[in-house]
Symmetry: C2
Subunit: 176 residues, 2 copies
Amino acid sequence: MKDDHDKEVLASLKKYVALVEEDLYQPKPRYLDAFFFPNEKNVDRIVQYLSKATKSLKICVFNITNDRLANAIADAHKRGVQVRLISDDECMHNPGSDVSWLSSQGVPIRTDDNEQNHMHNKFAIIDDTHLITGSFNWTVQAGKSNQENVLVVDNPYYIEKYNTEFENLWKGFAAN
Amino acid sequence: MKDDHDKEVLASLKKYVALVEEDLYQPKPRYLDAFFFPNEKNVDRIVQYLSKATKSLKICVFNITNDRLANAIADAHKRGVQVRLISDDECMHNPGSDVSWLSSQGVPIRTDDNEQNHMHNKFAIIDDTHLITGSFNWTVQAGKSNQENVLVVDNPYYIEKYNTEFENLWKGFAAN
Ligand SMILES: [Zn+2]
Ligand SMILES: [Zn+2]
């Protein structure tokens, strides 16, 4: 080592490498996941994600008729998770929809109010750390009969974008 | 520097840091993206992704009625990109569907053959490097009127899973 400057470089490199190693080998919990339907067991994977929520649950889904998913949402609300739900107005008033039931359980709900348009999203942001999205409506039909995909991402890039969209829709839609 | 061992450590650290820096500051093209509808301009973002395909395009969408997206698929096929399309049987036979037209243009197409079930996916894998998915059907209504989300991911974890699902569906569905 030639001089003090080299010593400094080595010290700062070592610190840098330690930081990188910590990040690489002791990463924060990752939520990379992807699964497909029809597959009734994969409905439980979504239930699992909902049941692990500890802080907030922002759900924006076209339709909910699957009672296992509706119960998981109600359970989160009961244990003090901040739950908010955006859904489609026509779907909400369909017989068999669980959205009205969730409203009766005290879950704050907003919908669009346009018969021609669909609030067609099917995503959920859990604890502001991971996002579940895809083609899958939270219905019995989708889990049992349809070809569908769901992916879970945890890159903050997506969380931020979907959070902003959720808040925009929440502001734009009326309370029910 | 005390001895040759320290010199080695410094050399290997410098190399390591250089590699990390290259990875951090000169990364391979990333495809992190997310956008929302209704927004006609965001249809063009999907068109852009399709128009940049150079090798393969695996598309698995419930319904296509948006001519801009259909043309982008036909253009890719014409310039030699390996295009394959999976869609829903009922949607394909709807008036206004572009799926039959794409078939007449020589694009290989497969669909489910079950009236009760829906091939409800809406994803595309481009050049085996990035995946476009979300709630958005490739229709005029979805772009102009609906609340919809699309995200683009490039983590090989997702590419591999969706590739496997695409090939499974392709094998399971009949040619049209
Ligand atoms: Zn509506
Ligand atoms: Zn079908």
